[in-house]
């Protein structure tokens, strides 16, 4: 025990501060937790989505493959269509995300006539090589994402986008 006696005034000060702190926390905690819920929610594991693309019909030239799935956005469920750029590298099937790594626009294969064998983003003239590697000197800072893929009855299934593993 220290020799400093707690005065009545100090004691009341500590007690009221403590109680007030609990009351403030009791009010704020639910509201803060409410607001940050999206960052604490578990990410659902991406299911594979069936496409109408036969794997045998893919070539080494990237083709755009559209795929639709049911997207749950909070209380709103809707059918959305995304696309992937898919090509064969030997026996491997590569599916790249069309979302530009600069600011999220959509890239096109051969969209720039001066660079017919590159992906091109029209927003700020970003370019990527066929394997998704961003061309130095253009705005994107990283390679295009790569979709997980699978196969069923000869058709291509597309999973969730992950970091590019080719580079």
């Amino acid at each position: 025990m220290s020799n400093n006696r707690v005065s009545r005034r100090q004691f009341l000060g500590y007690t009221l501060t403590g109680v007030g702190g609990f009351m403030a926390a009791g009010m704020l905690m639910p509201m803060v937790r409410f607001a940050v819920d999206p960052i604490l929610q578990k990410k659902g594991d991406g299911d594979f989505v069936q496409t109408a693309q036969k794997i045998s019909e893919l070539s080494n030239e990237p083709t755009r493959v559209d795929f639709s799935y049911e997207q749950v956005d909070g209380w709103y469920t809707s059918e959305v269509t995304n696309s992937a750029w898919v090509y064969k590298d030997g026996d491997n099937v590569i599916a790249l995300s069309p979302v530009c790594k600069h600011l999220g626009c959509t890239v096109n294969w051969g969209g720039d006539t001066a660079h017919p064998d590159q992906f091109f983003c029209p927003c700020h003239l970003g370019r990527y090589e066929k394997n998704g590697k961003n061309v130095a000197g253009t705005p994107p800072l990283g390679p295009l994402d790569q979709y997980e893929i699978s196969e069923k009855d000869g058709f291509l299934l597309i999973g969730k986008p992950t970091e590019n593993t080719l580079i």
Partner: protein, 224 residues
């Protein structure tokens, strides 16, 4: 009649000193455009506040028709603009005023900079001003999404990607803003609406109060 009411209240509450404190103060010659026309540059701060008041009022009225729901947001904006009497005017005030606030605020900042008014003892008021600038940009960013048209959607996509490029916490900021890790949708719209209509205005009022209290406390900076 009005005088009598005023006197009746003043007799009981002594309100004259209150409004004298607020309204009765000297305007030095060097900031009065009637003396030197070039002093109009000192009006930009007041003009920013004037337009801010218009934004608050027109915004309050817009929420009588607007709904922050992805099915109906665009339709409600279309309706209030084209079907409601003077809807084009009220929305126009909010739309053009949003840009004008930024312009006026920028001119005000330039004036403060070039007259050196940010120097001691007014450094704190400059800092609060920078805070107001940030809040205004936030109001512009969140308000831009609300009509829920293509321009709004893609501008916000790009804006959120910019926020996501912050080192280390970028993805957290992105999710916190959008309400979902990957989707920019229903939850983003309600969040942006709440931020635009409640959170940022609350912060703005506090900062504006500080800004004005400090001006009154310190007075307008001297002539060049």
């Amino acid at each position: 009649m009005l005088n009598k009411i005023y006197d009746w209240v003043d007799e009981r509450l002594d309100i004259t000193p209150i409004w004298r404190d607020i309204a009765d103060h000297e305007v030095p010659e060097h900031v009065n455009p009637a003396h030197h026309f070039s002093a109009f540059v000192y009006c930009f701060g007041g003009l920013t506040f004037f337009i801010t008041v218009i934004q608050i009022l027109s915004g309050m009225f817009l929420t009588m028709y607007y709904v922050p729901d992805i099915e109906n947001a665009w339709k409600s904006v279309y309706y209030l603009q084209n079907e409601v009497a003077f809807g084009e005017i009220v929305r126009g005030m909010h739309h053009w005023g949003a840009s004008l606030v930024i312009v006026m605020m920028f001119l005000h900042t330039l004036r403060v900079f070039f007259t050196g008014s940010y120097k001691k003892p007014r450094e704190l008021n400059w800092l609060v001003g920078v805070g107001i600038f940030g809040v205004m940009l936030g109001l512009g960013f969140t308000g831009y999404l609300l009509p829920w048209d293509m321009k709004a959607l893609f501008a916000t996509k790009v804006g959120i990607e910019i926020a996501a490029s912050v080192p280390f916490v970028g993805e957290l900021i992105k999710t916190l803003l959008a309400g979902d890790a990957t989707i920019l949708g229903a939850q983003t719209l309600t969040r942006f609406f709440a931020i635009h209509v409640f959170f940022l205005p609350a912060v703005l009022f506090v900062l504006l109060a500080l800004h004005f209290i400090m001006i009154r406390r310190q007075g307008i900076s001297g002539p060049l």
